[in-house]
Amino acid sequence: MTYFVQQFLNALQLGSLYALIALGYTMVYGVLLLINFAHGDIFMIGAFLGVTGSMVLGLPFVPTLLLSMTITGLMGVAIERIAYKPIRHASRLSVVITALGVGLLLENGMLALTGADPRSYPSDFITTTTYEKWGINISNVKIIIIVLAFVLFIGLYLIVQRTKWGMAMRAISYDKFAVPLMGVSQDQIISLTFLMGASLAAAGGILWGVAFPVLNPYMGMRVGWKAFIAAVVGGIGDIRGAMLGGLLLGFIEIMVPAYGKSIGISSTWRDPIAFALLLLILVIRPTGLFGVARRQKV
């Protein structure tokens, strides 16, 4: 039992991190129907800004987090203005290619800027303490990650469901041609979406760097793909779906090596099994767990 609880906590940590990043994919898709493939690299930028904040400016955890979320959020807005806005009415394919290009630009720009050497946060950024009770070890890092992920998720959910801004976002997602006629500025709402999505990615990046303290310019690619898949499984466009998809992926990735051994599956099967299960979900529910089928307007 203690073994299960321990693995459950491991899964909750990994799943929370995936979920935070998946939220950004899902928000942008929800509003713009755009899959922002640069999102993983925005996550990487957030993590590296955290390194700058903590190493160069010597800031502690919370100010670093807020600073990185703010700057990364503004970068998200800038990326939308520069790269996506001019092609808002172009074909879907051009948009996808642009997003991939932006991702590569961020990745290689960071590589040119900082070199390929991996980085980590200073050791006094968060002093790790491990609490032990009934044979279960839980560190303060785990607690912070899990709690913060849920707080951010709930905050985002409330913003989208309960505020006027959130209502405008949902409205644009429903009909982007009718909403401007109601006097809502489409540009402002889209900017807000990118601001929130990118700052969530930055939070994810810093927490990721605390949990896995080896950061490099390529880190966004793999994590970004996984979070994207989590968002699709959850039903891309739905915030609850992104959260659930992220947690689900985290659980499968932890539980396969944890229990696979006893039925003769080595831990190497973690990724194949994880993705096979996710594919299976999509076969049963093609729009994802929370997804609603969109009717194509003719």
Binding site: Q6, A116, T128, N137, P257, K261
Partner: protein, 403 residues
């Protein structure tokens, strides 16, 4: 562009042109009759950039030093050493492309590198097929040289290193149980993990967990929870310096209090920066200790430090030794024919390098000692050494002493 700017630029160009020849003036009285072209394959970008940097620096130093001493001597003539560095991006396919380019397009006399086994094994195939001598300084997986008469290395092998670590675990900590965590998708960790398991079991150490992951993974909490549940005395993890901090910190966070042991892939100083205090006191086996006390070793370390401002790591030391082996072979052969260089390399006996004394066996692998290093206060410190039975012969007793 204004006239003044143009004048300024021209002056600069002239100045640089004037300084250029001055700095190499020392070599002018050497009268080079030709060139020894050495291809260097280094992972300058990709997952292990520090390895590439060390390779490039040591190669540059080995070439400059030799040229300052009038280069390689063949038949009383001086041959200038020219190095061509290719980036392998820490990837097998790029290492193959680099080796092919160097051999076919550049017609190099020999290749030094690539370093990691995952790159050296496929690149070695290219060198062997195209009959070009290749020395991998750092690769320890047996497959790099097996049945490849043209491929050599400067590092000892994992079938030797595995038992060294297993013996150390038993002698130092009285370990009776051990666990292994390794990357199943990379040749070096996979091979060494298996060598360690065999040696440990032969010693009567029970291997209670043998867990794997895949290159690029960062979360090992599931495997580590498995391992910790078995409560092993030691955890052996033959991973690269960019992965070790993740493993060590996650293991401690999950409550593991036993020993964590490593291998030569730990020996890059970046490990200490990334790992912080978490790696303090841990041991690993490797090729050389920066506080090694031989004359050859100290001279190399002093020069390297004054040139590049940092202590050389094992990659730099082995790369430098590979160059010296190549020079020795060419001068012994008195020829620049690739086949003659190959034969002379195979015949090198009791060569004294920075990383100790070595001889080559029929497979192209060196017979040499390993050192055990402890990480102390942010430095790699010599702790002990382990040699193959009966090596080095008593007459050549000049290997490492504690510094």
């Amino acid at each position: 562009m204004s006239k003044r700017l143009i004048t300024l630029l021209l002056t600069l160009v002239l100045l640089v042109g004037a300084i250029g020849p001055l700095t190499v003036a020392a070599q002018d009285d050497c009268d080079f009759a030709g060139e020894v072209v050495v291809g260097v394959i280094a992972s300058l970008t990709g997952e292990r950039p520090q390895v590439g940097v060390s390779t490039e620096e040591a190669a540059q130093m080995a070439a400059d030093e030799k040229n300052a001493a009038c280069g390689v001597q063949i038949d009383g003539e001086n041959y200038e050493v020219v190095i061509l560095v290719e980036d392998s991006e820490a990837k097998a396919e790029s290492a193959v492309a680099a080796a092919t380019r160097l051999i076919v397009d550049e017609q190099v006399h020999a290749i030094i590198g690539p370093q990691a086994s995952v790159e050296a094994i496929p690149a070695g195939q290219v060198a062997n097929d195209r009959e070009t001598p290749m020395i991998s300084p750092w690769s320890t997986n047996p497959a790099t040289t097996v049945d490849r008469p043209w491929v050599f290395r400067a590092a000892f092998l994992d079938p030797f290193q595995g038992p060294v670590v297993a013996n150390f675990a038993q002698a130092e900590f009285g370990a009776t149980t051990a666990a292994v965590l390794y990357d199943i998708a990379s040749d070096y960790p996979k091979g060494l993990a298996e060598n360690f398991r065999e040696a440990a079991e032969a010693n009567g150490i029970e291997v209670v967990a043998f867990e794997s992951f895949t290159t690029g993974d960062t979360d090992f909490s599931s495997q580590l929870t498995n391992i910790i549940q078995q409560n092993p005395d030691v955890l052996f993890t033959p991973q690269y310096y960019n992965e070790v901090p993740l493993i060590v910190q996650q293991a401690r966070e999950l409550g593991y209090e036993g020993e964590i042991l490593g291998s030569d892939s730990w020996g890059t100083p970046d490990l200490i920066d990334l790992c912080g205090d978490a790696c303090n006191g841990l041991f690993f086996s490797t090729h050389y200790a920066p506080d090694i006390a031989t004359e050859v070793g100290q001279a190399f370390i002093g020069n390297y430090e004054s040139l590049f401002g940092s202590k050389p790591d094992d990659v730099a030391a082995l790369t430098y030794d590979s160059f010296q082996l190549l020079y020795t072979a060419i001068e012994n052969a008195q020829s620049l024919e690739r086949a003659d260089i190959r034969d002379a390399l195979a015949n090198i006996q009791l060569f004294e390098g920075v990383t100790g004394i070595m001889s080559f066996d029929e497979q192209g692998d060196p017979i040499k000692c390993a050192v055990i290093i402890q990480i102390q206060e942010g430095a790699f410190t010599y702790y002990d050494q382990a040699c193959p039975a009966g090596f080095p012969p008593a007459s050549a007793d000049a290997t490492a002493e504690p510094g």
